[in-house]
């Protein structure tokens, strides 16, 4: 059933200037997780931010012009189930490892945005050969009480959408229900995705990553929207100073927390420049 839904979703992505990605399914802990892939070239992984990846995006399309972009869905994000089997950070870390490996991304370059950044950063530190080069877009994982991130789980109805992108309409379009998808199931999928982030990050978004940052030895790009209303820019500096490998910070103008949605061209250019 999940496979059929994922194939149907992929089919809906034609139009709007984008062709559809290829859809396949892998198993994590024996449960199905969708993989979308597109393009030719060296594999480049993408783990999406809050809310997961309900539809293919212009950012991924631009990367797919020169790379084979592979976007596996974490358990609980759209296209994947099984988040409720994962209780501890260790469970989530293993699931991230298994997901990347099963999707054919072992040893590849990986982009991880927002909440997924906390998992990818830890995975890079724990398994140094798993990720070749890492791009983190405003990642979670650290917490400083004197400069806390916005509490994304304590928002009035409808407010979160306005926080995630610089242009609210951009996020609304990203999560808008396609006509052919069942309204109730779409809503449930969105709520499940929100729950998934909470399951591995509630209440502070602090996974204890601070004491493991030094294990990250791969080159890392820290990409930050200049108008991020969720994760303060000071966290870019915290990540950069803690990571043992070479790191650099790039700010994206007129972009919010999910910078790759607000400014797909600038974000894709920054990523491809870093990965050259």
């Amino acid at each position: 059933m999940v496979d059929q839904a994922n194939a149907a979703r992929a089919a809906q992505l034609e139009g709007g200037g984008m062709s559809k990605p290829e859809a396949s399914t892998i198993l994590v802990n024996g449960l199905p997780c969708r993989v979308w892939a597109k393009g030719e070239g060296a594999p480049l992984g993408y783990l999406p931010g809050i809310g997961g990846l309900p539809r293919w995006t212009p950012f991924l399309d631009q990367l797919a012009a020169t790379r084979r972009v592979i976007a596996p869905s974490l358990p609980g994000f759209p296209g994947g189930i099984g988040h409720d089997h994962l209780d501890t950070h260790f469970d989530w870390l293993l699931a991230t490892h298994d997901l990347l490996t099963a999707a054919g991304l072992a040893g590849a370059d990986v982009i991880a945005s927002s909440v997924s950044g906390a998992l990818a950063a830890d995975a890079a530190g724990v398994w140094p050969l798993l990720i070749k080069r890492l791009v983190l877009i405003a990642p979670f994982g650290l917490f400083d009480a004197s400069d806390p991130p916005t509490d994304i789980w304590a928002q009035r109805p409808g407010h979160l959408n306005g926080l995630l992108c610089n242009d609210t309409q951009t996020y609304k379009d990203f999560v808008a229900q396609p006509d052919s998808v069942d309204a109730i199931e779409w809503k449930v999928e969105q709520m499940r995705a929100q729950e998934t982030s909470a399951r591995f990050l509630f209440p502070l978004g602090n996974t204890g990553l601070a004491k493991r940052l030094r294990r990250i030895t791969c080159s890392t790009l820290l990409l930050w929207g200049e108008r991020d209303r969720v994760m303060p820019f000071t966290y870019a500096e915290r990540f950069a100073s803690g990571i043992a490998g070479k790191s650099e910070i790039v700010k994206i103008a007129t972009a919010g927390h999910l910078a790759e949605l607000d400014a797909p061209t600038s974000a894709a250019d920054a990523v491809l420049t870093f990965l050259q």
Partner: protein, 417 residues
Amino acid sequence: MKLMWFHLMPYTELPEDFRTRSPSVWIDIDPKLFDPARGHLMYNDFMDELEYAAECGFDAICVNEHHANGYGQMPSPNLIAASLARNTQKSALCIMGNSVALYNPPTRVAEEMAMIDCISGGRVIAGFPVGSPQDTCFAYGQNPSMLRQRYYEGIDFIRQAWTRDEVFAFDGRFNQQRYVNVWPRPVQKPHPPIWIPGGGSVETWHYCAEQDYVYCFLSYFGYKVAREQMHGYWAEIRRLGKEPNPYRAGFLQFVGVAETRAEAMKLYREPAEYFYGRCLHVDPRWVVPPGYMTEATIRARVESQMQIAAKVSAGGGPSVNQNATDFEGIVDNGYVLVGSPDEVAEKLREVALDLGVGHLMLLLQFGNMNKDLTKYNTKLFAERVMPQIKDLFDDQWEDKWWIKPMPRAQLSSKAAA
């Protein structure tokens, strides 16, 4: 029918401009608003009121748990219940309840309730709510996505701890304990009655039916809002082939009694408007952390919202407004039932029969109601309302979910006094 006197213990001196001055009554209520010297008086008044209700003959006195909350000042209901256990003799002590997912290990809950059951000679009703999102996820930082799994496991742990007659290991998903041995043991066998407060999810109804626990619909919005929930509960009970015994259910209602309806409208206006205006000023940001609601409940709610939207577009609409803060709206919508003793008795009889509830919990103190008015309301209810409805259901149904106290001859001299 059982008539149970419930206290929320609200802070009674929130300022008049509270709604505009403070973001919420819960979680981020301004700590500077709490005056401990006034708190001293409030707690002592409230405990006097609970003890007075027991003296007046209510079947139970009820306490509950809230955290960082300006209208519910019992972070530990067990502390209050322990005191009530010493100062009352007959009333059941309904602890409604302990949010077991907050306590790791839940051993503490099993121990404290067993202590109170011993002190009181077997008068504890053990309420186990999931806990509101405000109390559990925001005040106590519990993960909303794992709360219910922890909750069910916690109740299973406590039940085993109360009933198994050997030291045992508990190897749960969230709780691991090599040696479980609750000492003291509860007086009531196999264990104190377990009651579950719920908000109307089908899963909770199934859980209560399967485990043979009492389901309680505790809402601040009265009997009109409760109709749909309770009718759904009974339909499910019948569908599951269970006996529709009204003592399987509990329900909470605010009540204000006076000699006449006009007098009641005069007396209870201020405390009701204080409660619904100031005490229920809750910022919506604290209401639905992701994962708190199950997917089945989300589906049911989205379907229900779509049905309501369709009804509204067809010219209908929801029949009960849940946002009233003026007294006329509060009364018209049934949040607070006011009237003369006869009027209140007649209405409560009708409500109990309609909802099918054998355990009626009554909030006879609400908002900033002072001790004198609370005692007046309590006494009038006990003397003039209670006798008119007390016999309801008892000729047909046995309350299998009530306390089983020790024989009087075995009680301590103070407890038997």
